[in-house]
Symmetry: C2
Subunit: 288 residues, 2 copies
């Protein structure tokens, strides 16, 4: 029964092909879906970083604030492109791989149909064999069985041919899809990476042009402002005290109230070590 062996072999090869394709496309689908998910998680982390950068920027002096806000904006822009990457990967890579299951089902149905036709062929062949052995003289029944057998065989031959065409189409579509899906994957990735290079180049400029000294001036002014605020508070009526000798023994006879005032004045003394900075501190008070 070599024809049946041959057709079994044909079916086996085709079934293997479909099974392998199904398995491979399934694995590609879940791997690329996972790749897309991981990309989305990376985007989420970067989005959190953007938020944290903005929060941090808001606590900083104007120069750093502006720098970090611009940087955060660029980082957010990269995430927008990453989001587009994720959406495009889903639409043009993961979904076609999922959809591939439909084609596999159609091919499987085609194989199943062929198998049932082939089984009928076998049945007719067996029937004919039996008749020939049991009643070799019953020409009319044998001719009738031969006609059925012939029909079944023609059916099987036609279905086999159809199956061959289906498998050819299946293979062609599979190869085309593989090429298309990975070309789309590469294009999506390439576009994203190119955009990222562009945006990060601008972010680099922003960060590099940050003026540290300007920020430090603001900071120092603020810090001296902290002293300035308290210096301004107590009413300094007793101005006869020598600020150059704040803790001299001469003060020992004075009242505690007076000594408190002196303590306040002593702040001015320590500030006198850098009077310009102190003045700046006073001037910067609205910043606080």
């Amino acid at each position: 029964m070599n024809i049946i062996l041959s057709r079994d072999s044909q079916v086996r090869v085709m079934e293997d092909m479909v099974t392998n394709a199904e398995k491979s496309f399934g694995q590609f689908c879940s791997l690329l879906a996972a790749y897309t998910r991981k990309t989305a998680r990376l985007r989420d982390k970067a989005d959190q970083l953007v938020k944290q950068l903005i929060n941090f920027a808001n606590m900083e002096n104007p120069e750093m604030r502006a720098t970090l806000r611009n940087f955060a904006e660029d980082l957010a822009k990269v995430q927008d492109y990453r989001q587009a990457e994720v959406e495009r990967l889903e639409t043009k890579v993961v979904n076609p791989l999922k959809f591939y299951g439909v084609q596999i089902k159609q091919t499987r149905a085609e194989i199943k149909k062929f198998k049932s036709v082939r089984n009928n062929e076998i049945k007719q062949l067996e029937k004919l064999e039996k008749l020939r052995q049991k009643s070799p003289s019953d020409r009319q029944t044998i001719v009738s069985a031969e006609t059925s057998m012939q029909r079944a065989s023609v059916d099987a031959s036609r279905t086999s041919h159809q199956l061959e065409e289906t498998v050819d189409t299946f293979q062609k579509q599979k190869l085309k899809d593989i090429q298309k899906i990975f070309l789309d994957f590469v294009t999506i990735e390439m576009v994203f990476h190119a955009k990222a290079v562009e945006v990060y180049s601008s972010a680099f400029q922003t960060l590099e042009s940050y003026d540290l000294e300007k920020d430090l001036e603001d900071f120092r002014a603020k810090m001296h402002g902290v002293y300035g605020r308290y210096d301004a508070r107590p009413p300094l009526t007793d101005t006869t005290l020598s600020p150059a000798l704040p803790w001299s023994l001469a003060r020992s006879a004075q009242s505690t109230i007076q000594s408190q005032r002196k303590e306040a004045v002593s702040e001015d003394d320590s500030a006198e070590e850098d009077p310009v900075e102190d003045l700046r501190g006073q001037a910067q008070q609205p910043h606080q």
Copy 2:
């Protein structure tokens, strides 16, 4: 006690500053560590995809096999760059943020030292107050207490100045570090994305130049080879049978053995519909 208020305020401002920086850098550290981890996970998924591509390629015909292997190689190259990105993010971004904790500890120690010096100042001041109220006539004890008070105050003033310098250095370093760390982050990302664009461009060329028709020829030859293999098996001694009429009624009187042979021959008949393809199939048998 305005000086104490002022110094309390100074300490509070500095403690807030250090606490905020610690919190912010801690958040940046864990966010960027998570970002790096997610990048590593993305690399892992892509590595799996590379393996799967190679496995799949090995089952395919030469043209697709070569295409997918080249593509897998490019995809692996991108992952090598991603691995370099992960390592550089760890070394130049995450680790410096971790190390930042050491600087915070030093500043905290500085603040603690200042606090203890300031507490001594308060103690000496309170001692002096008590003496003045209890024994205002005991000049010698008061003078001695005033000397201690003066020393404590000078200490506090000097430590306050030191603290101010420490905080100035701290702030300067913090701003510098922020700039440096994010510049490094942007540079690392930029280099990775630029490399990815380069490699994916080459991958695009590879995938686009894939010759589908060449592969389909191989495939069709293989599929016909499946028939060919079985056709070659039975010894075809009876060559007088008309292959044009495989299931004609004329065969009804023949033996089952003969009809089996005919069945084998019938395969040749169905192949006759496309004799060129069948010949190609026979010729391609070594491929199997």
